[in-house]
Symmetry: C2
Subunit: 270 residues, 2 copies
């Protein structure tokens, strides 16, 4: 964590609390806002080579003078619990199970937990970020969904969202998805994190849509806890991957095991 | 090239001929079909470290006893003119200009050459391969298209294809796309390579669709030459990237320059 940011502090608190309920050690390294890039890269490098550290997560956003991409890409591929280093992006784009952004895994975890059949469904994703939209797209493709990806420059968004069997909202605009933009019986996972009149709300108008959908995830209490749970899964996977050395077969087994999207059941942490 | 395959031989001939018209040296290394993986990896490694070699392309398919992924991933990221190594996949998934699969670049090159506006258009891709479907998806997203990706498990394919402003067919099934599956005025790029009654044909029923579309690329003579042209562009980019050493700014400039999808105009090679 570099500098201070109230939202980031809150995320870190939730993650640390959940990790401690699972008896996973975590430590927050707080660095000054004016740290130079080289010092930050050195910090990460020392964590990369520290055998007591199994996973590294750089809490975004970083101050403007630091090249965030360079920092994220410096994390060792097998400690990259955010799944954003080149080796991991290559893996999820290719549909090889591996360390995948936890928010994207959380979306799949929710769908799998409620035994929602994905094969052949039309999924519409609103948002094309590297931490949600794009990895969710590849995960859903792997599950044989037909996938449409929309974004801020999409024309007639409602024309696309109305066709969705499964709608993933991950754009960061409070209540963007209204009742008339979704077909009856659709399944919605809301990944949005927005503040409206001081209240945390999602990208979906939950109240208006609740009775129209088959399943809809609330904000807070839906995608958020699933994300934290998947982050813990990523940490366990990262720890085990590092133990296997060069044993490719064992690595493959581990990756398959950890990408069954099982949410740890006792989630009374938030 | 490992072993013999008539289609691969034909691709190699076309590529070699085009490269020689551009005064680019190319050499085909033919290896026996029963070569072991280790020897093939050693061959690639010696090309990786040979400063006279600017680009490496492994002509697929490889014999079944060889792990094709491992071989492709062993190519140095800056000599990987096919754009399939982890570093390059990361780049195209993140919309950073770089070495991108030539067939995917060829699709964009055709659209750009005919000055087809992409912003806000609905593009439908049929096919989810790593060499066409997925990279084209990311290239079109970068151009602010809304993108739907369909594949062999898509239900009611025609429901999706009929909505396409731009349709990219890259599935490898002769004449899969029929006249009633496309709306009037659509733009079609056909990447299919199939043989029907001994004739090379695309995934699109060209004759039936010609009068219905605004633009449609033929097979042969459409995506194929564009691909070879883009491969030459990738080789030039690879050569220049290697000269720049660690100069990040210069690399960025080069990548931007080479990803303007300019087709070399004199394409009388096939």
């Amino acid at each position: 964590m570099v500098g201070k940011n109230p939202a980031s502090e809150s995320y870190l608190r939730i993650k640390s609390r959940y990790f401690s309920t699972l008896c996973l050690d975590s430590e927050v390294i707080r660095l000054p806002k004016n740290i130079n890039e080289c010092d930050l890269l050195n910090t990460i490098n020392s964590l990369n080579t520290n055998s007591n550290v199994d996973g590294i997560l750089v809490q975004l956003p970083l101050p403007g003078h630091i090249d965030a991409d360079k920092v994220i890409e410096s994390i060792s591929v097998e400690k990259d619990v955010e799944g954003l280093s080149p080796g991991n992006v290559h893996a999820w784009a290719k549909a090889i199970p591996n360390l995948v952004p936890a928010t994207a895994l959380g979306v799949l975890a929710l769908l799998k937990y409620y035994r929602i059949s994905l094969e052949g469904k039309h999924a519409v994703i609103v948002g094309r970020s590297m931490i949600v939209g794009k990895p969710v797209l590849h995960l859903l493709l792997k599950e044989n969904c037909t996938v449409t990806i929309c974004h801020s420059r999409t024309k007639q968004l409602e024309r696309h969202t109305r066709q969705a069997d499964i709608l993933i909202a991950a754009v960061g605009e409070a209540h963007l998805i209204k009742a008339d933009m979704v077909k009856k019986g659709a399944i919605i996972v809301d990944v949005g994190v927005n503040f409206l009149d001081g209240k945390l709300v999602g990208d979906v108008d939950f109240k208006a849509l609740k009775s129209k959908t088959s399943y809809i995830s609330p904000v807070p209490g839906g995608s958020g806890p699933a994300t934290v749970s998947m982050l813990a899964g990523n940490l366990l996977l990262a720890a085990e991957l590092q133990k296997t050395g060069d044993n490719k077969k064992q690595k493959e087994c581990l990756r398959h095991y950890y990408t069954n999207y099982a949410i740890v059941p006792d989630t009374n942490y938030c």
